[in-house]
């Protein structure tokens, strides 16, 4: 029941994430991850794109220690947090109890309250999770991830199930939170605009490898109207196999 699989090495001094020659296959099938290399600098925000089934979640689960490393190596900080597409809150614990679940120490409620306040959920601290809206539930999941002060935050399509308006708000929230916490972030997304609004770098997976590695050198806050945005958008879409004339 250890959070960290034995085969994931922990980076001590610099909190960088280094994936080296990672290969993963299910059964006798083809390699889902095939000699994959990826490095994320401390405090860097990386967006991970790729068509459905390209192995994004598999990579993330390996980084989270949920899947074993059988071939290749993974180095990552000890304190990591994951937010999935579904909030995965325990329905029988109130929102604040969910956020601080498993944390040691006294005065947990106050601790939870301050984080929930930070993600804009201060008014729902005592609610049951099943009564939350989709956006609220993801805020709670985000609070639960942040309260652990991770050096590395992994987000697997966290806003995919939300409506467009809520998604924009959540992107803004992520951007603010990252500005304050400065942890490394790996965001899996299908939304090219989302990647360009948030990330320092966008990487695209294909055939089990990082196929495109695109720096996004725009200042924040970013605007869709930025001419560079339009250019990067086209590059990224092309690397995903979408061409518009």
């Amino acid at each position: 029941m250890n959070a960290v699989s034995q085969v994931v090495a922990l980076s001590q001094r610099n909190e960088a994430i280094v994936v080296d020659g990672l290969t993963r296959r299910f059964g006798n099938g083809p390699a889902v991850l095939d000699q994959l290399n990826l490095a994320i600098a401390p405090g860097e925000f990386v967006a991970l794109l790729g068509r459905s089934g390209s192995g994004k979640s598999t990579l993330l689960r390996t980084l989270a220690g949920l899947d074993p490393v059988t071939e290749g190596s993974v180095i990552r900080p000890r304190d990591v947090s994951v937010v999935f597409q579904e909030s995965r809150l325990l329905p029988w614990k109130r929102v604040w109890q969910n956020t601080v679940l498993g944390l040691p120490g006294a005065n947990q409620r106050a601790h939870a309250l301050s984080v929930l306040e930070e993600v804009g959920l201060g008014h729902r601290v005592d609610a049951w999770p099943l009564t939350l809206s989709g956006g609220e539930a993801q805020r709670a999941a985000l609070a639960r991830a942040l309260v652990r002060e991770p050096a590395f935050l992994m987000l697997d399509e966290p806003f995919a199930a939300l409506d467009a308006l809520t998604r924009l708000k959540m992107q803004k929230l992520i951007s603010e939170l990252w500005g304050r916490h400065r942890c490394s972030v790996l965001l899996v997304t299908h939304d090219v605009d989302e990647a360009l609004m948030l990330a320092d770098r966008a990487v695209v997976m294909e055939h089990g490898q990082i196929h495109t590695d695109l720096p996004i050198p725009m200042d924040r806050p970013r605007r869709h109207t930025d001419p560079r945005f339009e250019h990067l958008r086209r590059v990224l879409l092309e690397s995903l196999g979408v061409y518009d004339d």
């Binding site: 029941m1 250890n2 959070a3 960290v4 989270a64 220690g65 949920l66 990591v80 947090s81 994951v82 999935f84 579904e86 995965r88 325990l90 329905p91 029988w92 614990k93 679940l101 498993g102 049951w128 999770p129 099943l130 009564t131 639960r144 652990r148």
Partner: protein, 279 residues
Amino acid sequence: MSGTLIRSSSPTRDKGLIRHAPLSRFGLLKRYVSPMLLVLLWQVACSTGLLSTHVVASPFQIALTGWTLVKDGTLQTNLLVSLARAGVGLGIAFVAGVGLALIAGLSRLGEDIVDAPVQILRTLPALALVPLFILWFGIGETPKIALVALGASFPIYLNLHKGIRSIDPKLLEMARTLGLTRTSTIRDVILPGALPDLLIGLRFAVGISWLMLVVAEQVNAESGIGHMMMDAEDFLRTDIILVGLVIYGLLGLISDQIVRFFETILLSWRPSHRAARSA
């Protein structure tokens, strides 16, 4: 135009409201009209001699007999004996069922050891064990309690075991990423997640324990509601038998309500329960 619209729509809505309240109250009453008519018919049939009291006593006679049995204390004494048997048996079943389900649900080895024998045993009709139990335990309290305990422990075991095994794997995965200890995972994730199933099992168990008791007390007993009914049979006292039936019915109803009450308290996190309580 719009003025007419508003004027024409609001009076109809008011009328609807006014008519609605007495309608629903009448609706509630309506549910009891047919049973009450049946009881009345029954009484008439007995009074006119259409139904012999050797076949069935009249409702009035049953009420009267019930009152007499309460006054001389027969009913209370036997009821207490029956309640004690059911309570102790159910208690044993709860401990055994929960214990075994935890062993089988929380460890692979435990599952291998416990589950197969239980699955085989449960296919036996528990009532077929009555003669064996009397041979083993004599005619005292033990065989009756054992029978209740045996019958009631299966639904508790089966439901809790199923509940533990069917916890959302995504939640278990979340527990891993949060670094929860094994103890915390069991306490905070597995047990609360399986609680709804345990309560369903408990409701079945309560029903079965009354069934077991009825049989155990009628086959071989010196006291209890079942014994009271068997005694009455010797004297053709259908009124006493029917009082016993009424008591069994009430016991089943009340105990089911008690478990339901626990459900609303313990599962208040479920939206359906909250809605039911506020309504």
